[in-house]
Subunit: 357 residues, 2 copies
Amino acid sequence: MTTDVTSGPADGPEPTASVRRITDDLLERVEHRLRSFLTAEHTRFAEVDERAATVLTTLSDLVTSGGKRIRPAFCLTGYLAAGGDLEDPGIVSAAAGLEMLHVSALIHDDVVDNSTQRRGKPTMHTAFAQHHTRHTWRGEARRYGEGMAILIGDLALVYSDQLMAHAPTGLLPEWHHLRSEVQVGQCLDVTAAAEFAVDPRLSRLIALIKSGRYTIHRPLVMGAAGAGRPDLAAAFAEYGEAVGEAFQLRDDLLDAFGDSAQTGKPAGLDFSQYKMTLLLGWAMQRDEHIRTLMTEPGHTPDEVRRRLLDTGVPDDVERHIADLVERGRKAIADAPIDPAWRTELADMAVRVTYRNS
Amino acid sequence: MTTDVTSGPADGPEPTASVRRITDDLLERVEHRLRSFLTAEHTRFAEVDERAATVLTTLSDLVTSGGKRIRPAFCLTGYLAAGGDLEDPGIVSAAAGLEMLHVSALIHDDVVDNSTQRRGKPTMHTAFAQHHTRHTWRGEARRYGEGMAILIGDLALVYSDQLMAHAPTGLLPEWHHLRSEVQVGQCLDVTAAAEFAVDPRLSRLIALIKSGRYTIHRPLVMGAAGAGRPDLAAAFAEYGEAVGEAFQLRDDLLDAFGDSAQTGKPAGLDFSQYKMTLLLGWAMQRDEHIRTLMTEPGHTPDEVRRRLLDTGVPDDVERHIADLVERGRKAIADAPIDPAWRTELADMAVRVTYRNS
């Protein structure tokens, strides 16, 4: 069974709601794959030691704590748009592997960025540090919390690969690129924050690597490659890089002006971590005083926010997001895929760039 | 070309020096594989950004800083003893992947254990933190140093897998077990240290997972599986678990009494990190005062060392190491492998358990 959802030119393309249901069905199979994989691992480690099984419970709790599954959705959509076989379990494993990689990245990023909240709950290292303090254990609570999060993030990274071992082999080169690139991109990100030099070229490169390629372009291309359609790589790359930049810009806006209750993360984390985002880089180019507000003691995040708004950059960023979404739509306008999937990809670009969490 | 090094029963087994040369030749190919892999990645990232290439240089420096290559050696020996084809490049990639995994583990362990020295140089997180301080960058130097080490350790973990993608597929199930198990084992290790409760059963389980299986048993079995000889798994497991426990006990002794100039690591790290090693667990069962010396302020590592010697446990541990090496030798006495490789495995057991670094 393939995913050609049009029965013929006379009928025209199916409405996008119908193709989205196909993706949603596959996404449910991804959930099932993740849960059954982790349950099997839990059983395996429970036979070794009760404490070992606890590690698996902690990881499972995070995996099932309500992520948006953006990367699996793009991978599956790339696969389906390319006419991939719906019955092949390989692509479900690939999408599950992408999500597991993301969970690993979240756990480690939260340590690297010293973030206290994720999905409305204490981050993993925070929870372990609190546990250490409550039990008045030996050593430093911070180191114990971060140590456990490093190791459990490593475990998730290993598992992402174990899931990917069942994926169609054609997508593996893209997978290898995606994984190494995102780690190097993160290194650039934390170094740019430490240097805190305004360098929009570097900020843009980081956004491209961390969001454009990691979240959208490479998952889409993995899906197409898994369906045996490497010919779609160029159009999907162009779409992914444009929509990915818009995705990252929305992230910057949500961090600065979003509602912590909706994002599930602390507000203003980029400020406190000196993240040289595109938003802040552009704003500082227009108003150097923002740098002072961020780096000298005695200023509140609210002052930074007000001054940011005064520069007019947030409005410009909104316009830029709209342009990028349009650019993404055009990039796939002539791609040789079913028109219903083209519409769905255009819709997805809007959904991921106009989100509130 | 297979590795049957005897030309017939009349000649008897070749001297072990001769089969070791075969392993050493393959180990040289492993070095070459690691270097050429990292050079290619360096080139790839240098095209993206100069700073990205620096990340690769940092990783390459550690990979080529003189590790003992114990895991690759056991993997290759398992493969060769099982009659694996010398010309198959797959096993070289597998051994390189094992070493890359180990480099990842070292980088992350040094953060988790807050260790300042590795192979006689500052650990990766220490070096990055120093760099941050020297340049008076933004944010916390410790967090920057540890953040970079987390990300570069992740990169090495990703690369270990990329190398393993070229390995004989028969060894992958064992590889998956090895990797997830070692992360969970590390979680148990840091939690046991935090709790600091004497529990020799748990200490032994941790030693089994972290050293027996990770360092010896599973690399050997991977090698045999790569050569299509899963029938050797039971004998290699028994050998690996015995010699691995001896390996870990030597590690405990070196940490407590070894010469930092030779080990390249700080002396007494287990004490300062409250590691509930087998050595310390047994010693505390015999003399409760050691616990006080380790946990109450005002006592030096030298006091702990002297008291440890007084218990007589270090001498018992030496005898136990000798027993375990003998047990390892017996485990493979009837294994259906060339006698020269049997002798070489017995020699390896001695070499890795009577080392000074």
